[in-house]
Amino acid sequence: MREVKAGGIARAVKKLCMDANYYLPSDVIDALKEGYRKEESPVGKDVLLQILKNVKIAAQQKIPLCQDTGLAVFFIDLGQEVRIIGGNLEDAIDKGVKEGYLKGYLRKSVVSDPLFKRTNSKDNTPSVIHIRIVPGNKIKIILAPKGGGAENMSRVAMLKPADGVEGVKDFVIETVKRAGANSCPPVIVGVGIGGNFEKAPCLAKRALLRKIGEHNPDERYARLEDELLARINNVGIGPQGLGGRVTALAVNIEWFPCHIASLPIAVNIQCHSARHKEIEI
């Protein structure tokens, strides 16, 4: 067993919180630049220019790209040969989030109770943590801060198997249409197909972590990604919903086997501030 100190995890998470909120991944920046070249609408072009300027200012001044620095969503691949000492994993993550959001001048956007009191927890905890036990003696930590605007426009449905490929396509396009300007386009569309009621949205969220330009390894799903992207970009929503060609930068599909009676589908929309960062300990 390899021993990893909880304190080291907290320190790594603290840095991840700041870096993820100040610096946009390079594949997203490249896709935005490509979008700027492709966009036909002058208003849309101006929006993309502002987005690219914003990326530079955030990095130079070390201030968050978006004031909504999100709920801190973690995907952890925990090697089964790792033993965490000096504390437990989830506490270490939340400690890192607390410090990162405080010292990094990031907004605290969590209410402690969703329904009755809705008072701000003031340190952006608790985080949402997905843990997967994997072979090996490393811990991979991915942080994807997720803002409220695009998350609120995401949807899940239990389709009938008879709805088939057409039903899936219609649901994805309808979700993007309904989201319109609210989800801060150009968006990345994460699609989870299969699994069950809770698996599909987890797949959709995980799909958002994929690099722009990479496709699902299964050719049928890769073709579906391309077709959906083209159709979404013909809807006309455009950057910020003000009209234009560049509504989405990518459609990423992840899938999983499912029950003979089901065809679950989830669409998780990611705004253009597609922040995520990872570290391996």
Binding site: I51, C66, K108, G241, L242
Partner: protein, 186 residues
């Protein structure tokens, strides 16, 4: 794209009535921030017949919950939040005299009708460019509901803040018109 109109906030009815859907506006002057929790309190105050923490006449409300300021800075990143969440409250504020709203995303039918009735406009700022937009904010001061943290009401002094007119006083809607213009049958 249309040419740019320079405006000074608070706004007059005259300023508002000449604005049209799609106009680029460069806004300077004083504006107030408020989002979900602050709107709830503002409208409760109005319903009780009490005075608001600021004079609403001609004011522009910016739907934003800024990030904390780094030391030596006026404000942290400060971009618009989704406006439709403020729809249940917006009509009361327009009735009280508010003339402009800044946010992102489309408004409901009732709010659009109220904009025509009370002669108010809805401006979009680009969502997610909060670091850039914070550069146009020259002063910021919490004036009410400090306990709400990011959601407290702030009085901002802005200079050439870049906006687009989404809904004017004549019933136009830039989101609908823009999407229609670029839509290809799908």
């Amino acid at each position: 794209m249309k040419s740019e109109t320079k405006l000074l906030a608070p706004l007059s009815s005259k300023d508002i009535e000449k604005l049209e859907v799609g106009d680029k506006v460069s806004l300077s002057g004083i504006i107030y921030t408020a989002r979900d929790a602050a709107h709830k309190r503002l409208v409760e105050t109005l319903k009780r017949g009490k005075k608001l923490p600021f004079n609403p006449e001609g004011q522009v409300i910016y739907y934003v919950g800024p990030a904390p300021a780094r030391p030596g800075r006026v404000i942290g990143s400060a971009g618009p939040t989704t406006s439709s969440r403020m729809d249940p409250y917006a009509i009361y504020l327009m009735e009280a005299g508010v003339k402009g709203m800044i946010g992102k995303g489309s408004r409901g039918q009732k709010v659009k009708e109220a904009m025509r009735k009370y002669k108010a406009v809805y401006f979009a700022a680009v969502g997610g460019v909060a670091a850039l937009l914070s550069q146009y904010i020259k002063k910021a001061e919490v004036i009410a509901y400090e306990d709400l943290g990011a959601e407290a009401i702030r009085r901002l002094e802005v200079e050439d803040f870049p906006l687009l007119v989404v809904n004017d006083t004549k019933g136009g809607d830039l989101y609908q018109e823009g999407t229609r213009q670029y839509s290809m049958s799908v």
